[in-house]
Symmetry: C2
Subunit: 564 residues, 2 copies
């Protein structure tokens, strides 16, 4: 450990936390193809430089369920390069590893394998992109596990009930219980929580001495009544939740005042959509845990391609032009050109002194052309930025937001903003319109699937484009209503984004978890699941623990479920 | 080393040799799905039991270029299980490993990696099934190499010229030069040999002390004028050639009297077609090399599914029935039933005392129904053997061979058996018939591609079926001629098979390479490529060798090329 940092001592866990690395994203793109690889390299190098005890990944290490050969090869190469070596590991695992790594043929942590020299063990849950498939229930992470390069944990194989058994780690006097749950379809997991089918096992002994860390990869934003996991579903004995899947970097610990735990949302390390959430500066976290206190240091990523997004509402420029101004389209184009140029200049200023940051930024200008304006040809516009922008072809995104209020009465989506996800909005919209118009070009099932793909990829803003595309294929008289649907969806998406925007950008944010906040309050009538400590001390695959029920502490009960 | 075997001493290399394991072949088949996995397990276990110094694989470890996740996972798991451990490695590598493993990010043999504990290093060239693809030129083996589980060598990246630089190994006083060349399209490699673009580098010093072993994965059978590699193309300084790609097990060393080297053709360890060559009992080899003497021990594989193939010519039973016999079809079916039952009984007898051998054998009965007989419905027939045969659906294969001579005049394939491969035969046939009939249903290009796929998979007998299928789609009056084509192709394929059938089945065949046989005979006027020895002794990635030309020994010259 570095002697300069007084925080780092023999009782302090140092954990590098990252999520949604989406390795292989756009790997065939001539400009952006290496972005995800460069950033994984940066993340692993950072782990090495900081001499962390281990790496914790929150899922979606891979963008594709079946990563390309190049993608797997790059990943294997980097893990071997950075995570193997002579540096001794300073912590022990005292839980039953055959339970922790129950899906592996080598059910023990890689650094305890006598044939592998691991300097930084990496632990990962799987995300929705790299989730297990097939009869064997294998995911891409399992190839890394089998090779001994990564420890895949939190894979629940039952659809009936989920038992989350923590990896119990001890470093000096600090006891860390690492819980993990790989991605499960949100609605199913929601239902399982409601039906009391999710159980978190706790160590039986010294229950209050453990720092309880939980990695989860689900919707955190409310995308529909049951299409997310409310924080309140999670056990309140937890100290910190690492929330994967959501791409916006909200890594500063936010306290859940109801459950009295903290949540960090590291966000993706590569922008997989051109939505506002992805424009937030990307960070990873260096978590220190000593006893039951924690400290989260935000580390900005330098290799991440800059992304600037801006909105322009043409109707806001009545002094400059109106739809009737001569050559208005040319003038609009000039305005957009100026806006993009402005963003490029800002990007360049920001990039100064950051040699690792790619030269060409991602730029998105959302142009609200409501009020009778016309769009212009973006291909000619794109051409002008081909040398300066990483995404020249889709800089401009036309939309009509202004017309929302006037057209709203035509739709049945009265309560749309209250707890419906975008897919539901679209389904409702088409259900309503189908009564009058035959949608011969698109079955609802087909569309649902297409939408699902978009949503799965977290490209929520792309839905707007999809709807526009679909509507162009249907009857023209639907146009006005479609615009209203876009509008509602956009409002919905923005609401989610905005609700998460109260983040500050300090790079060294320190929060402490008070012990008092987690004083056990026995609740009568609730079952409690406990887990024996393995007294071996973890110098190898350790003995099986016994599992007790109903003793001490407190568990999660249905009574405490308060869907947000 | 086992003390019982007096052959095994500190100067003796013990090498387990296998090829064409075709991992993942038919992995989705309910009966045969695990065959390839079980046999890899047996092979690796055998390597461990025999305490070999290393494993040498001759290509096509994987059946699919992009193996499934299950396939990769199984392979990784088995390699980690059998090839990692504490057993010390008894030989050194003295060549420049950055050259030997030039396509790897970790260009050194896995057992010298300080972060990996390798007990049995495995070396493999790639085959045509697992060959490198994509801009990065990566193949599935490279994932294993990157993980440190295998040493992929013999990957020539240039299409202009090939330089084969051996891995120079030393164990006690024995010096072994391991040359390898991963699969290259036969016609291209043939041309490169003819154009003198293939060079084998040799150690500069003590040139005659090296045992020269070469692994190659190409057509050995003459599939066409330039669609194979004549043994005569290979350098005569070689001592032993391990020939992959050909699936028939001809592992007993056969001496090439012209080049004065031996060739072993281990054959595949799983039958990927129901052709006679695959019915030969499958073996792997345990090669011992001491000084320049070698010994090849054949090891029969126990997990390989039995395969019996038999021919029946209906016209050979005139006393039993003729095409006009009442209920002849039923009688033919009964005859076939008896033949299959006979083969099943033979299989059962053979399997006695072999608990590792799968219960249901592969059975193929080729029924020549020429002379006016009809075929019967095989679906009903298959049903009877569903519980006893691994391939119930394709036991019976109808063909008409007898009519060859009578119909031959209708074809332009005068010289068909002399040096044309099956694809060429078919192309010629269609070229001839196209003059009178418009083949609207199939372009030649499309067919060529389809055929190529079959041929690439070594399923040469499947071509008969393909042709039949294609012809059914064309005009009826082509039928008679098509049958003749089938006939010719079959003859051709059989000729190849038969020519290789003079194998004996002893399990312990010992051959010795006499030093005299390889006494250097300087040929004036020939270039000679030599390679410096690295004097370091190979305790790590070793220093770069220098490369000399024109000194001592003898190289391969165009003058010696005698295309067969």
């Amino acid at each position: 450990m570095s002697s300069e940092n007084t925080l780092d001592d023999e009782d302090t866990f140092k954990i590098l936390i990252a999520t949604d690395i989406h390795l292989g994203y756009l790997e065939k793109d001539a400009i952006r193809g290496n972005d995800s690889y460069n950033t994984l390299d940066e993340i692993l190098k950072c782990a090495k430089t900081n001499e962390v005890d281990f790496i914790l990944l929150g899922g979606d290490l891979f963008h594709e369920n079946k990563p390309s050969r190049r993608c797997l090869h790059n990943c294997i190469t980097m893990l071997r390069k950075y995570c193997m070596g002579d540096t001794p590991i300073q912590f022990d695992i005292v839980s039953d590893q055959t339970v922790n790594f129950n899906t592996s043929k080598f059910p023990w942590v890689n650094y305890q394998d006598e044939n592998l020299n691991i300097s930084i063990p990496a632990f990962s849950i799987h995300g929705n992109h790299d989730d297990p498939t097939g009869a064997e229930g294998l995911c891409a992470l399992d190839l890394l596990s089998a090779s001994g390069l990564l420890n895949h944990f939190g894979h629940s194989q039952s659809v009936e009930s989920i038992e989350i058994s923590p990896i119990l780690m001890q470093k000096g006097n600090t006891k860390l219980a690492l819980f993990g749950l790989g991605s499960i379809p949100d609605e199913r997991l929601y239902r399982m929580f409601v039906n009391n089918q999710v159980t978190m096992l706790r160590p039986k002994e010294d229950q209050d001495e453990w720092f309880n860390l939980f990695a989860i990869h689900q919707n955190r934003s409310k995308h529909g009544p049951t299409n997310y996991i409310p924080e309140q579903f999670l056990d309140d004995f937890l100290d910190l939740v690492v929330w994967g899947h959501e791409h916006e970097c909200l890594i500063t610990p936010s306290r859940n005042e109801q459950q009295l735990f903290y949540v960090i949302q590291p966000g993706s390390s590569v922008a997989t959509s051109l939505s506002p959430g992805e424009a937030t500066k990307k960070h990873i976290g260096l978590l220190r845990v000593k006893g039951r206190k924690m400290n989260l240091q935000k580390i900005p990523l330098k290799t991440v391609r800059q992304f600037f997004i801006q909105d322009v509402v043409l109707g806001d420029y009545p002094d400059l032009f109106t739809p009737d101004t001569p050559q208005v389209t040319k003038k609009v184009e000039n305005l957009c050109y100026a806006k993009v140029t402005e963003m490029l200049e800002e990007a360049e200023r920001e990039r100064l002194g950051c040699p690792l940051t790619p030269e060409k930024p991602l730029i998105r200008l959302r142009v609200d052309y409501s009020g009778g304006f016309d769009t212009f040809h973006t291909s000619r516009f794109s051409q002008k930025f081909v040398e300066r922008v990483a995404n020249p072809k889709d800089i401009i995104h036309f939309l009509r937001r202004r017309e929302q209020k006037e057209d709203n009465k035509g739709l049945t989506l009265a309560n749309s903003a209250e707890g419906l996800r975008v897919e539901d909005l679209v389904k409702q919209y088409f259900a309503a319109t189908e009564q009058t118009v035959q949608l011969s070009l698109l079955t609802e099932h087909g569309m649902g699937k297409a939408l699902q793909e978009f949503v799965d990829k977290d490209e929520k803003d792309a839905i707007e484009e999809l709807i526009t595309y679909q509507l162009e294929k249907t009857q023209c008289h639907l146009q006005a209503r479609a615009v209203t649907t876009e509008q509602d969806i956009d409002t919905e998406v923005r609401r989610f984004r905005d609700s998460k925007k109260n983040t500050t950008e300090e790079d060294n944010e320190i929060k402490e978890v008070s012990n008092d906040a987690h004083e056990p309050e026995p609740l009568s009538g609730l079952m409690c699941d406990t887990l024996d400590l393995d007294s071996d001390g973890g110098s190898g695959p350790s003995a099986a623990p016994t599992r007790g029920r109903g003793r001490g502490g407190r568990g999660r009960g249905a009574a405490r479920i308060r869907p947000g």
